[in-house]
Symmetry: C2
Subunit: 443 residues, 2 copies
Amino acid sequence: MKEKILEFIEKKQFAQLKGYLQALNEADISDIIDELPGEDGALVYRLLDKDVAADVFSRMENETQERLIKLLKEKEVTEIINNLYADDAADLISEMPAVLVKKILANIDPQQRKDINELLKYPEDSAGSIMTTEFVDLKMDMTVKDSFDRIRKVGKDTETIYTCYVIDAERHLMGVVTVKELLLSKYEDLIEDIMEKSVIKLHTLDDQEDVAKTFDKYDFLAMPVVDQENRLVGIITVDDVIDVMHEETAEDFEIMGGLEPSDDSYFNTTVWEHAKHRIVWLLFLMLSATFTGAILTHYEEAFASVPILVSFIPMLMDTGGNSGSQASTLIIRGLATNDINVKDIFKVWWKEIRVALICGSILGIVNGIRVAIQYNNIMLAIVIAITILCVVIISKSLGCLLPLGAKALKLDPALMASPLLTTIVDALALVIYFTIAMHVLAI
Amino acid sequence: MKEKILEFIEKKQFAQLKGYLQALNEADISDIIDELPGEDGALVYRLLDKDVAADVFSRMENETQERLIKLLKEKEVTEIINNLYADDAADLISEMPAVLVKKILANIDPQQRKDINELLKYPEDSAGSIMTTEFVDLKMDMTVKDSFDRIRKVGKDTETIYTCYVIDAERHLMGVVTVKELLLSKYEDLIEDIMEKSVIKLHTLDDQEDVAKTFDKYDFLAMPVVDQENRLVGIITVDDVIDVMHEETAEDFEIMGGLEPSDDSYFNTTVWEHAKHRIVWLLFLMLSATFTGAILTHYEEAFASVPILVSFIPMLMDTGGNSGSQASTLIIRGLATNDINVKDIFKVWWKEIRVALICGSILGIVNGIRVAIQYNNIMLAIVIAITILCVVIISKSLGCLLPLGAKALKLDPALMASPLLTTIVDALALVIYFTIAMHVLAI
């Protein structure tokens, strides 16, 4: 599709290009504009029909949006902001330079300006910041027929019409009714009689991660957001929640990989920013690992008299790290999905110890046999086998206890993933190893 | 809520319990039954209204469903299967013992039986296996009013009514129309004129991961699934896709943590199963790490003459592993979200090398200064600083090249995460370290 569009542009067949664009889906057009050079992107954007332009714009990558804003006239930008849903517009504006924001806000619809200002005042990552203020509101004394009239009137400008919220004169949330229920009811039925009165709702200051969990639990297409006086101020739709889920997952992956979380895409982050997101953890972990090295200097005489001992260090460190990561990955995920709770700590630990006994025994025996055959040294084989068993038990224990402990202390359990855990387990593995070796081998 | 329900059960106030349950949301009831002991769970389940019972059942955990099936009479089980949406029923049946499946299938509605058998024949994780066969289908010559009549007639039994699909006499997919469009049109308008003709659709054999990506791109609430002759066979709704997203994310986390992926929850996996999911990777990585150990034996004379060299091994191994994991985490995530493509390989590598230069220089200088001061040995400090820089460059390079290489070979990039990468980087780190040390220190 991209090639075809570039061809139209090159041949200056703009009328044909306009027709071609009308056959494409909004998501595909925004993907293409993302990939086109700035000027061509602006050209294609200007050829779009008014009613799809805002949708295309809201689907583009942040960088493309910023590029386009710079190329378009102020009047065109104002029109985009006017046509976006208020939540998307607020997202966009919060990324713009202050001087441009001021100009734009001065020119747009008063209602849209009010909605945007409203949304901008909520803290980042709160339900208030991701909600939209455009929805279908009904009154209790309306009939089903009145409701359809209301949907027809306001529906065109709202993000969803399928879930309608019932409010009283002071905008208190009284109930919820879906279009499915409306369609399956009689025209003369009263909203009051068919609405669901016990509404599951969100509060403006709820964390977006909790919002995602609530959607996940109830499978709603939309949920209402109320303020502290139970007044309906907005709704959150399932597509926004899917974005939040992706954001939260990406954050977990990043923290577990020893990175500072970042919202930007890989290529849109500069080399310096990448380095900045990585260096703090690397420095911290490197300096922590020097303590592990300091431990080794205590056992200098051990590996001076039995040099072969040194060659097992990498294997023991890696096996400890890997055993621990397996446990911590499962626990961190389980905590994220509410599958595991902090109160289960002893149940989890007991399970991990039994798993560690099985895995540690197998690994110990396999490696013990290998060492016995390769070096023809039974005592060394026993040292390695016992060390592996102990290291696996310790690392699986820490792999479950550290994330659970972090959660109990209201820290992010993902911090206790592989990088930090490995550093801690390494130090313990070496102490265990040389203690056992010095006793068994009588060094 | 659970306490209240247990109190009702204890006092045998079943009528009151029935009333209490009517005020609760289906998702909350299923959560409570998940937590109740088997008999109490069955008791609560039997008190539910017919029309919510199936919904509650489909939201329960697999284990609770199996427990309940064992406690209920065959007639009750048949009723559950009849009332579930076909996709949920097929999921449930595929987990049951064959003898029970045969009995149940013999007793249920012929239409439901046909739907279930249809779904059971698709491969696991395909679009066909997660779709539902119940949806609203319209004809091109219907008016908007006819369509509403049709929705009223079949809508009660379909998972969603908000997206309706237009088919011809041979069930070929001709178009799609949303209830929003129907509501905003005139009653006498023809479906043919208001439907969207270029339909984005899925095929029965599409992988569920691609299904999730398509939903993500287009933000649809439902998508049609067609067979090879473009006949409409089912639809997939956004709530099923959210489940798929969670499944795929969990799988990525597990593979990246060095675990074999598993669908079961942490507590519902036995100790033996946990051990089985972990031992293969642990064994493989442990034996790989012994090669790293073998490398060390080559340098025995080096650390025999300068024993302090051994104490830097853990720090160098960990720093290499962590630098590599940072890169591989970003690349694996980028590949999963289509943010990075295999064709970007050189762009990514060049970026990682520059990041590595910055991070490696900082780490090298910091640690070099520490060594120079602590051991009063400039040459040793130079060895450590240069080694760190080289190790960071190598590990960041492998951290991006290995996942991209795996993807190019159609393997899962997540396999190249921390555990395997660390093992490879460790070996290289030691070779680099001792090569540099022996040259600079002239051992």
